[in-house]
């Protein structure tokens, strides 16, 4: 782990640090990060070595043990689980990168028409609760009633079921891959937006073909962000819970999520948190190894600096006649990822139950589900709390992560490699383990700080996903040369002034992406919310969970629609604000 960080600082004159406010801000950011990630990280590692299984890890009678390791890894299924999970994750990330990367390139670097519409289209899928997406795919590719299968059987006069079956490995990969494509679109898009096209133009002027320019100029310049995105998407796929539980168990694939599900839902007794934490040690190890190689590959960060003091304006490539197949591909993406799932969501919310759309059921449609949720006293409170939690955590994460990323990428300070390692950790901590850690921690400190049961616990807990934001900012800062900051420092500007005037404007696309991601995740998550929310801190995802567990599918779908409308509005506003600023810039 010696070289976890892309060391861009060694040849650069140090930005002058003023003790007082500058130092205080940086120290505060580091301390906040250590607090937000340290609590679940330490609890996770300790939980992996606490037992026996009929005790919670920090109960009085629990003690140190290695029993969780063989319980997690010592079965005949272990290698099958690794193999199946690897196949699933690699397949999903490959598909997701192909789709998300292509969309990002089209929107940010070409003259394809309807770019703003495509941007909004590309991010809608991440707003949809994953369980709804998975169910929508069953409606499309279910071997009995899936309408794609029905159409194919009708056209080719086939008998029986199929030909496609969603309950297979490729079914899981399609659903997860397209799901993760939004994350990839957002992250790669931010990098492309920041990329100076002068090098590409120079390549083209030298007679290189578009493909050669892409292979030898564009791709290498984007290496840091591409690697970061691939690693994050891979870990997301490994940890994915909803798709494996809705589709994967049916596909009889031994993915980690299934193993974790059974550990958390034992036939009797307490959830086996120790076993789950032991599993997550693998996630942590994989994360560290991947980011270690990331650091090795991006060691000479200046090679990847595509934003310098020279000023730039991204140039868009002319698609010419290729725009038609591109638009056709985007339309197919929109149909499968937005139109069909959204239609099924709306249909369910209006029908009040789960059924394939049909003409005969049109007469049963009503707004009853919406009336019911709006009549619930708690709906207003939950909506307000959800906004507070999502806004608060997104804001906290955005700014803490960018300051820490700046320190790690730009500053030559002792311990920054350890800081980088810790800051990268939380993507590998399963939500259920983090949730239990927060329950224990905040209940305990409530004796002195009365925070338990308030929305602030949720704000702090949701911020544990800071690693995601941190890695995006590290990649973004690696992409940006330090010349402007140095010029600012040479002019006598303080860190805070440089941060406000240089770093934030240059990183605005990344900040927007990070903010939206954390905001979306906070809106959708119910793993942490179920454990941490109380009567005064009810959030929408908990209300939706209540409806789902009571088989009130219509009301659950109506809440999902409300969530999507809220997130859609937020995304449109953010996109508008950032675009406006970039035009001014």
């Amino acid at each position: 782990m010696a070289d976890l960080v892309a060391d861009a600082s060694s040849r650069r004159p140090a930005l002058r640090l003023r003790f007082s406010l500058d130092t205080a801000v940086m120290v505060a950011a580091v301390l906040i990060l250590l607090y937000l990630i340290g609590v679940p990280l330490i609890m996770n590692v300790l939980t992996a070595f606490r037992g026996p299984i009929d005790f919670l890890p920090f109960e009085n009678n629990a003690k140190f043990t290695f029993d969780n390791i063989p319980a997690a890894y010592g079965t005949s299924r272990t290698w099958t689980t690794f193999w199946d999970t690897g196949l699933f994750a690699i397949g999903a990330v490959s598909l997701g990168f192909a789709v998300g990367g292509a969309l990002a390139w089209l929107v940010e670097r070409t003259d394809i028409p309807f770019r703003n519409v495509i941007f909004v289209m590309a991010i809608i899928p991440i707003m949809m609760p994953p369980i709804n997406s998975a169910l929508a795919w069953i409606f499309m590719l279910g071997k009995t009633n899936g309408f794609i299968n029905v159409v194919i059987r009708g056209v080719f006069r086939m008998e029986g079921s199929g030909p496609f079956d969603i309950f297979t490995l490729y079914g899981m990969i399609i659903v997860q891959g397209l799901g993760v494509s939004t994350l990839i679109f957002l992250l790669v898009g931010a990098a492309l937006r920041n990329m100076d096209s002068s090098l590409e133009e120079a390549s083209a002027a030298s007679g290189a073909s578009q493909l050669t320019t892409f292979r030898r100029v564009t791709l290498p310049l984007l290496l840091p962000i591409i690697l970061s995105v691939l690693i994050l998407a891979f870990i997301f796929a490994i940890e994915s819970f909803e798709v494996p539980l809705v589709i994967g168990l049916g596909a009889r694939r031994q993915v980690f999520a299934g193993t974790v599900y059974f550990a958390l839902n034992p036939a009797a007794g307490l959830p086996r948190y120790g076993e789950v934490a032991a599993f997550s040690l693998s996630f942590l190890t994989i994360t560290y190894i991947l980011f270690y190689y990331y650091s090795r590959l991006t060691k000479r960060a200046s090679r990847f600096a595509t934003v310098t003091g020279k000023g730039f304006r991204p140039r868009r490539q002319q698609l010419g006649r290729w725009k038609y197949p591109a638009l056709a591909g985007i339309t197919v993406f929109g149909l499968f990822q937005i139109v069909f799932p959204l239609s099924i969501l709306l249909w369910t919310s209006l029908l009040g139950r789960f059924a394939a759309p049909s003409i005969s059921a049109l007469g049963d449609l009503s707004l009853d589900s919406y009336r019911s949720i709006f009549a619930d006293d708690r709906f207003g409170l939950a909506l307000r709390n959800t906004f507070v939690v999502a806004f608060g955590s997104a804001l906290l994460v955005s700014f803490v992560s960018i300051i820490v990323a700046w320190i790690v990428v730009r500053r030559n300070v002792r311990g920054k490699r350890l800081l980088d390692l810790i800051a990268s950790s939380s993507v590998a901590i399963p939500g259920v383990v983090a949730g239990l850690s927060f329950v224990i921690f905040y209940l305990t400190i409530s004796r002195w700080i009365p925070i338990w049961g308030t929305v602030w616990v949720l704000v702090l807990a949701y911020s544990y996903r800071l690693s995601l934001a941190y890695r995006v900012h590290v990649a973004g800062l690696t992409q940006i040369g330090g010349e402007l900051e140095e010029a600012s420092a040479a002019s006598g500007a303080s860190f805070l002034s440089t941060f406000k005037r240089i770093i934030v404007p240059l990183m605005a696309p990344n900040l927007m992406v990070v903010f939206l991601l954390i905001f979306f995740l906070a809106f959708r998550d119910f793993t942490l919310a179920l454990l941490l929310s109380g009567r005064d801190s009810m959030v929408l995802s908990v209300l939706m969970w209540n409806r789902l567990s009571e088989s009130e599918f219509g009301e659950a779908a109506a809440i999902s629609v409300v969530i999507m409308v809220a997130l859609f509005t937020m995304a449109a506003v953010m996109r508008g604000l950032v675009l406006k600023r970039f035009r001014n810039f």
Partner: protein
């Protein structure tokens, strides 16, 4: 340009932070205050001069001082005490069903008592309560679940038992009390197979478990990863572990059963014909929503007895007891049935839609009880390991 931009970005951040703080400041208080008209009325029911029972204790059987004066009804005593302790019930449950049931009669009858639910998925409920206890901050009153769900908290002394709660006084006869006096049974989770009535003729339905091996069902059955082993575990209590595990595995492998957490949606939508081991109340709920589904039984259908328990050191014990009392009344039982199709399936004097179905179809239920729930849990693990390998 820079100045303008940094100003705007900075302003945006400040505005966002302010908005967050303002929104938060607006929240945090009581989310659902009791009806203003109701609360004073409730308070008026308890004259200030009347000595109230202490908030944490209600005499198990308050002796009448004068033979001529009838003892106050237990619900009146509990109601007065409930108001005195704050008029609130905080439920630890997987969803907000009990709040909705209460809205069907309890809150009208006992105004001024507010409900709220601290959510936690079934297996996390015990963990949450234990964590609260460890931190010395128990803030829930009522635990809900089966004996299996409650075992970790009962064994740690976190649920009030004999001497701390008198179930008989609350109207629960001995056969409706389980886990050595810790839990009062409110409804029964009666296992049943669900089928899509558009896809399957009732005459073709399996009559016994081995009928599921008929090739006609191949690829047409789905099941919950939790309930499939749990349902077979009841069978194992009657037919033996080895034979049952073999049968469960045979059906699972031969018919290619699709395990998914969305098994109910998939049968309702017609993607699968049958969901093995769902429950009567799940199907009744779906029928009420207009779904084309029905249920049927095979041999040795299990019945888990779902209960309520009083959390020891609960902040509002009398409110919780009052609610327990009401849940056991005819009104409470009917509210449970009307809201979520949940009811007791068997027992002396039990007469409702669910119990009538059981009686009419002559279903031989395997009831979970204090003697067999641990064995049933073990067998669930055995079936799960034998069939799914987990």
């Amino acid at each position: 340009m820079f100045n303008r931009m940094q100003y705007r970005v900075g302003t945006l951040a400040v505005v966002a932070l302010m908005l967050t703080l303002v929104l938060a400041a607006c929240g945090g208080d009581d989310p659902a205050p009791a009806s203003p008209a109701a609360a004073p009325a409730a308070a008026a029911a308890v004259p200030r001069s009347t000595p109230l029972p202490t908030p944490t204790t209600v005499p198990a059987a308050a002796p009448a001082k004068k033979a001529a004066a009838p003892a106050p009804a237990i619900e009146d005593v509990l109601y007065a005490a409930a108001l005195a302790e704050g008029g609130e019930i905080i439920i630890l449950d997987g969803d907000d069903v009990y709040e909705r049931i209460a809205a069907r009669g309890f809150t009208d009858r006992f105004p001024g008592i507010k409900f709220s639910t601290e959510g936690a998925r079934p297996t996390e409920r015990s963990a949450k309560l234990i964590a609260q206890s460890q931190a010395g901050r128990i803030d829930v009153d009522m635990f809900s679940g089966s004996a299996r769900d409650a075992e970790p908290v009962i064994s740690r002394g976190l649920i009030a038992g004999a001497g701390e709660i008198d179930w008989e006084e609350l109207g629960y006869p001995a056969d409706l009390v389980q886990a050595d006096g810790h839990l009062g049974i409110v409804w029964d989770f009666v296992y049943a197979h669900e089928y899509n009535t558009d896809l399957v003729d009732p005459a073709d339905l399996p009559k016994k478990l081995t009928d599921f091996l008929d090739p006609r069902w191949k690829g047409k059955i789905t099941a919950s990863p939790f309930l499939y082993p749990a349902g077979f575990a009841f069978v194992a209590l009657e037919q033996g572990e080895e034979a049952t595990v073999a049968l469960a595995k045979n059906v699972f492998d031969t018919q290619g059963i699709t395990l998914t957490n969305s098994y109910l949606q998939l049968v309702e939508s017609g993607e699968f014909a049958i969901a093995m081991y769902s429950s009567v109340n799940n199907t009744l709920n779906a029928q009420a929503a207009g779904a084309p589904v029905g249920f049927f039984f095979t041999e040795d259908m299990g019945t888990a007895r779902l209960s309520v328990g009083l959390v020891k050191d609960a902040p509002h014990p009398n409110s919780a007891k009052l609610f327990f009392w009401w849940l056991n009344t005819e009104e409470g039982q009917q509210a449970n049935l009307d809201e979520v199709s949940r009811a007791r399936a068997t027992g002396p004097g039990v007469d409702n839609q669910v119990s009538n179905i059981i009686a009419d179809q002559n279903v031989a239920l395997v009831l979970e009880n204090d003697d067999n729930w641990q064995e049933r849990a073990r067998l669930t693990g055995a079936v799960r390991l034998g069939v799914i390998g987990q």
